[in-house]
């Protein structure tokens, strides 16, 4: 029988969503719109996840933040959603339909009710630290908003670096805050939440390629990761959207994108990250849209363009934007100490020639790995990890969003490698699964 009418929840139940990236946001909005109450727990100061750090999305080159920000704000404004940012789940007891989750609310030393996010405090903060939201390419203050579109729009004090909290001196932010929101005495607190179901959408972290000495990341100035590149080419990023190379901040002439760095590698992560072929194409196209004279080279293992419109995107990249695709994983990058130019040594496996290509910038398209602390969270939630450290589905084929614990569901990259649309689809899917335990029906 076709569903008609609207979804009704007899008694308002709560659902806990862990992780405020695009998958968790989608789950939250779907459930909130059906009348459930959502606790959206995010360990960072802002929801948004990695999508908030991307410049554009493939294969349409849509602005990432332009798609995401309205959803972030919708979460914030939704009467059925409580965002618990800068918080982590510490315990989960009970059973499907009646769980109790203990959540640690880390002290951000700001009264969230009072803070207006005006930024007066940040302007006066003398403490500068590497900005992890910009790939550490610039500095942020110790009292900060991660980025202008952050949700909730409240400041956070970084307790590791704040001069007042570490040395008892300064206090500038408190002096200038007209709202009286700064509270150096704030302590971590714990709240117990009664929820009917749990959705885990903790996403991923980026693989650190420093120890893969062959590529010289961390040693050569012009070897960067794709995430750093995303920030650099983003107009709101640390260089205002300009690609800069050492030593003179000129934009690069030739860029080498190196695929599968740490992926499809039995010494690191055996699985395909599933996105680096496509984001390298996107990043190459963006480079050309910024500078006509850039020559992008993509060193791939197998060009995996499997989604809708992906193959056409790859072809367009070659025909319209001059991307040169080379099948081969480079073996070594060598820097010329004086010019800072890089020689990428590779085997052109199609033409069977070993060559060195001189480039101005090398972008390492690194693997996406289970988010830090996934193992700890799995233990807390009593769900399983697979051999990669991602969350294990109850059944990969027939119950991909279920875990071994009834009432606990998974969605997004933390379940298996995938891109944004698939993460959104799983976010919706997990929301639908959660309604089964949280009750409700079409009337």
């Amino acid at each position: 029988m076709p569903h008609a009418g609207r979804w009704q929840v007899n008694e308002m139940k709560s659902v806990l969503v862990i992780g405020g990236g695009i998958a968790g946001i989608q789950s939250s909005l779907d459930l909130a719109n059906r009348g459930y109450h959502i606790y959206l727990v995010e360990r960072e100061p802002s929801i948004g996840g990695h999508m908030a750090l991307l410049d554009k999305t493939f294969p349409t080159n849509d602005c990432s933040m332009c798609i995401l920000a309205p959803k972030m704000n919708e979460c914030n404004a939704h009467p059925n959603i409580d965002i618990l940012s800068y918080s982590e789940v510490m315990d989960l007891s009970g059973n499907a339909g009646d769980f109790t989750a203990r959540v640690q609310r880390k002290a951000r030393y700001i009264n969230e009710e009072k803070c207006t996010g005006c930024g007066d405090c940040t302007a006066r903060c003398p403490s500068k630290v590497p900005n992890e939201y910009n790939g550490n390419l610039d500095k942020r203050k110790s009292i900060f908003l991660p980025y202008p579109q952050a949700v909730p729009r409240v400041m956070t004090i970084d307790r590791e670096h704040c001069i007042y909290l570490t040395k008892g001196k300064c206090g500038n932010c408190k002096k200038v805050c007209n709202a009286g929101a700064v509270d150096y005495e704030q302590k971590d607190t714990f709240v117990d939440l009664n929820v009917a179901a749990v959705i885990v959408a903790t996403g991923f972290d980026m693989f650190d390629p420093t120890h893969m000495q062959e590529y010289g990341y961390g040693k050569y100035a012009n070897v960067i990761t794709a995430m750093e590149y995303e920030r650099m080419i983003c107009a709101s990023g640390p260089t205002g959207g300009h690609l800069e190379t050492a030593p003179d901040k000129e934009h690069p002439g030739k860029i080498a994108f190196i695929q599968c760095v740490g992926s499809r590698d039995l010494q690191h992560n055996p699985y395909c990250c599933s996105v680096c072929c496509m984001h390298a194409i996107k990043e190459s196209i963006l480079a050309r849209e910024h500078y006509e004279d850039i020559k992008p080279y993509i060193f791939y293992t197998d060009l995996r363009a499997v989604g809708k419109g992906f193959e056409e995107y790859a072809v367009r990249g070659e025909k319209e934007y001059g991307i040169k695709y080379i099948r081969g994983r480079p073996g070594q990058i060598i820097e010329d100490a004086s010019t800072k130019k890089l020689t990428v040594w590779y085997d052109d496996t199609v033409n069977r020639k070993v060559k060195g290509l001189e480039v101005d910038m090398a972008v390492l398209c690194t693997s996406l790995i289970p988010a830090k602390g996934s193992d700890k969270l799995a233990a807390i939630l009593d769900i399983e990890l697979d051999e990669y450290g991602l969350y294990k589905s109850r059944d990969e084929l027939t119950a991909p969003l279920d875990t071994r614990r009834p009432g606990v569901f998974i969605a997004g990259y933390c379940q298996s490698p995938k891109d944004i649309p698939e993460s959104v689809a799983q976010g919706s899917g997990a929301a639908a699964r959660a309604t089964e335990v949280a009750g409700g029906a079409y009337i």
Binding site: H268, G328, P330, G331, Q332, W345, D347, R352, V354
Partner: protein, 377 residues
């Protein structure tokens, strides 16, 4: 060949090309590509591989093996294929016309009487039995062949001197044989096994519980390739760089400052055995270490391995490495392998294809440098 493929996991190869992109030989020799060799093997082209002279070009330096995303043991694959080729009647184009391999083969005769201890001067203390055995390797033979441009026995003397300084009077045996490294890596497994058995007999007779080598190839061979022969014994095998660095750590010896040094990682010590820090600690205790761009896992090979080939490729690699060393501004290039020393010195012994000042840097063995820097000597 199927067994070699299975043993070395060559069937995991996805032909990504990272091996050939890492290969220092492929950069100077168009005809050589590790990936293509594996590709041929997987296509069952046994005869083509055995008969291809490029089979002997590989330096087994493991620049590829250490980073293969499919964990194919390429150096072991080459070793297996060489053994198969050797059994089919092929052999390497040995440098020195095969003289070195002949000397090594001769050492496999049980009743051979060697005169290999003449270098032990009166100031050096050695024993016939004891806890520590110094495995000298081919140094006495190298002295006869290469004394025109290096002093191989100075390495042996320096090693004993340092051991004496630590209160050890090492066993140095007249019955020691070549460890068999070069024959093993050029396919002559049978003779290697003979040498291994004779050496193990000698080691057991000495009563040693610890062996010190000054050659990384001896270290690798004794530690890994003698494992079956030494089964049931509990003998610790260390390289002299590890030994010296532990002496320094325990304040048992002190070294004087000896200048700015750069370091050549020998393939066997570095990529094969994972020893990168010990020699660096020794260098840092007697001077300043400036690294070449290619160092540790990314280090370049000295261009020749197992005396299998010495061609234009080798010379080009050696000259490039010396240029790199010179450009660091170091006073000397230190290595901890007698063969790296010989090959890098040999490269500049005769004609040099570049201006002399570009490659004009002394090459010194680590043990020799440490011995010279011993405080109070």
């Amino acid at each position: 060949m199927k067994q070699i493929i299975k043993r070395t996991k060559a069937y995991y190869c996805v032909e990504c090309g990272k091996c050939s992109g890492s290969c220092p030989v492929a950069r100077v020799n168009e005809g050589f590509s590790p990936r293509v060799i594996v590709e041929r093997a997987l296509s069952g082209m046994k005869g083509e591989i055995e008969g291809d002279r490029e089979l002997w070009t590989c330096l087994t330096c493991e620049a590829c093996t250490t980073k293969c995303p499919s964990t194919v043991k390429f150096s072991e694959f080459i070793r297996g294929m060489r053994s198969s080729a050797f059994n089919s009647g092929y052999t390497s184009r040995c440098s020195q016309g095969g003289l070195l391999h002949s000397i090594q083969r001769v050492q496999s005769y049980r009743d051979l009487v060697q005169n290999r201890l003449q270098w032990i001067s009166d100031d050096l203390k050695t024993s016939t039995e004891g806890e520590v055995l110094y495995f000298t390797g081919c140094l006495p033979y190298f002295e006869n062949l290469f004394s025109g441009f290096v002093n191989p026995l100075e390495i042996a003397r320096s090693t004993v001197k340092i051991l004496n300084k630590a209160g050890i009077s090492p066993v140095v045996s007249p019955n020691e044989r070549c460890c068999g490294h070069d024959l093993l890596w050029t396919g002559n497994v049978e003779t290697f096994q003979k040498l291994a058995r004779l050496n193990v007999e000698m080691i057991k007779e000495s009563g040693a519980s610890r062996i010190v080598t000054s050659c990384p190839e001896c270290l690798r061979t004794l530690k890994l390739d003698y494992a079956d022969f030494l089964e049931g014994t509990d003998i610790e095998i260390v390289h002299i760089s590890e030994f010296i660095s532990s002496l320094i750590k325990n304040n048992d010896i002190k070294l004087n400052r000896a200048g700015i040094m750069t370091y050549q990682d020998p393939c066997r010590l570095g990529r094969h055995m994972g020893i990168y820090d010990a020699p660096r600690e020794v260098i840092k205790s007697m001077g300043e270490l400036v690294e070449m761009n290619k160092n540790r896992e990314e280090s370049s090979c000295c261009g020749v391995s197992a005396w299998a080939t010495c061609e234009g490729n080798s010379k080009q690699m050696q000259i490039e490495r010396l240029i790199e060393a010179k450009s660091t501004g170091a006073d000397m290039l230190v290595t901890s392998c007698p063969k790296c020393l010989i090959h890098l010195r040999c490269a500049v012994h005769n004609q040099i294809p570049v201006e002399k000042e570009k490659v004009d840097i002394p090459v010194v063995d680590l043990t020799v440098a440490a011995c010279r820097a011993l405080a109070g000597e």
